[in-house]
Amino acid sequence: MIELRSTLAGRITLAVLATLILLFLAMPIIVIVVTSFGKDAFGNFPPSSWTLGWYKQLFADGSKWPAALSLSALVASLTTVFSLVLGMTAATALVRSELPLRSAVYGLVLAPLVIPQVVIALGLFLLFEPAAMLGSPIAIALGHTVLAAPIGVMILMATLKGIDERLEDAAASMGAGRLTVWRRVTLPLAAPGLVAAGIFSFITSFDEFFISQFLSSVDTVTLPVKVFNVLQYNVDPSVTAVSAILIAVAVVALALVAVVRKLGGSGKQDGLLLTEPTVGLTAGSETSS
């Protein structure tokens, strides 16, 4: 293969530059994880001595963090369920049927990914405030689903496209009813995609800030909202430990997706994680085209 030969100096410059930029991306995360184990809460990096104290403090008596954590977990679980139901039906409609106005439905599904979140949050606030539903976990989960469902639909559409439709047809021709086909053929084959869609829905909700901020009440605050309030108004060193936990949740979730994809053998293993982030990106061009 003919290649443009690169000079040694050029290659070194490129490598140094790339390393610096990758550090730029990784440093904020590394610094939080390391600081969360350090004795001096905000100060020196790397810390001079180590402690697990901040983590212990999170769950000490009188701490408000466990309540926020369990609210976030509840909301994220509800969101996951909503998003999977909407995602699976919508993906089936978009991939496996003749749908009138298909592109309009597709555009509608992707729209929440490009519309500014503050606009979505404001609209939801105007919807739930008169209904006196601010602070209700259901309301927050319904709001988060607006952002999570499009991601679920995208992942499940890719999953369904990857399943050979003839397998479903074969089952049907052998006398299986529509429901049986769905339950015994489609669902098992789609399982890795469902797990991935579920996990991404969960972390979308778990990390979501703006909608929660608008739909929270004084006593029901999700974890990210609480972290934000602490960062903005009062200083609580255990916020570093909470942030480290949020990082851990996201990393474990991504690792799970990677494992499930590998077990499911979806055949695009080199792109394990790379398909999802493009979800948000393609949305821009898809809706506009």
Binding site: L25, F228, L231, L246, G284
Partner: protein
């Protein structure tokens, strides 16, 4: 099933087959509508209708009549300044994310697959970690006694330590870090698709490195640059977290203003007008993207024809 069987039978008379086809297709349509219904109904109630009521509220006068008063307010005095600040910071951030993203993506696209995979992992994993948490990381890094300033002081960098937080530098650094994964991924996808033999061919015909970069590489990457630039600009417009936490008073962006008007001043109409303005700016960006895309395609067609 009973309906399916005769289709495979080649003996079936033609008109019957046609009718059957229609019945089948109607069934598939009905099945599709049934499955599309939940998400469509859901988004109509919780996404379209709320935005519509935001629009209505932004046009409603205090006595219930129609007014453009809230929009006039948005383009006056301090509010106008905040709108301009939003546009300025979005422009600075998307430009920086584009330049840095270009450098990183082109470096990664030349790495061996294993290293490229690892590098992309470093790009993608942060993208899935809460932006709030990453912003906090930047606050720790950029503080007066943070890692960056300590390092610069230790290196006797002239002028160090710098004020890197609660000003525009902080906001732009923090927001760029959030937007970077988007630009890198978009540009990387385009760069991977480039036939590098074209560059070699240009070199073979005597073009220098700078010429190749300027006349061959950049035009090939241009669609990705436009996409990434406009998209990160749009995403910045409504961004709240990083400017709110890392900026000073002069870096207040529209999203912060909306938050304040709703939460502190109970000024829903004004907030709605600002929200609709953000929405229109986003639509304008998407429209621009589409126009540039079709313009680019037309240009390419003309190039192929000649």
């Amino acid at each position: 099933m009973a309906v399916l069987a005769p289709v495979s039978g080649s003996a079936a008379p033609v008109p019957r087959k046609k009718r059957l086809g229609r019945v089948l297709s109607e069934r598939r349509t009905r099945f599709g509508l049934l499955n599309a219904a939940p998400v469509v109904v859901y988004l109509l109630i919780l996404f379209v209708y709320p935005i519509f009521s935001t629009l209505m509220l932004s046009l409603k006068a205090e006595n219930g009549g129609f007014t453009l008063h809230w929009y006039a307010d948005a383009f006056r005095g301090a509010n106008l300044e905040i709108l301009l600040t939003t546009l300025r910071i979005s422009a600075e951030t998307s430009l920086l994310a584009l330049v840095v993203g270009f450098a990183l993506a082109s470096a990664i696209s030349r790495l061996k697959p294993l290293w490229a995979g690892l590098a992309m992992l470093v790009v993608v994993v942060p993208h899935f970690i809460s932006a709030l948490v990453r912003t906090y990381g930047w606050i720790i890094l950029l503080g007066d006694n943070g890692v960056v300033n300590n390092l610069l002081t230790a290196l006797h960098f002239p002028g160090a330590p710098f004020q890197l937080l609660y000003n525009e530098i902080g906001v732009v650094i923090g927001t760029t870090a959030v937007m970077l994964p988007y630009t890198v991924l978009l540009l990387y996808a385009v760069m991977k698709g480039i036939d590098r033999r074209l560059l070699a061919a240009a070199a073979g015909m005597g073009a220098g490195r700078i010429t190749i970069f300027r006349r061959v590489y950049v035009p090939l990457v241009a669609p990705g640059l436009v996409n990434a630039g406009v998209l990160s600009f749009i995403l910045c417009l409504g961004y709240y977290l990083t400017p709110a936490l890392m900026g000073g008073e002069k870096q207040t962006m529209v999203a912060s203003l909306i938050d304040e008007q709703v939460m502190k001043q109970n000024q829903w109409n004004g907030a709605s007008a600002l929200g609709i303005i953000l929405l229109l700016l986003t639509f304008a960006g998407l429209l621009l993207l589409r126009l540039l895309k079709s313009a680019g395609e037309a240009l390419r067609k003309r190039g192929e024809a000649s």
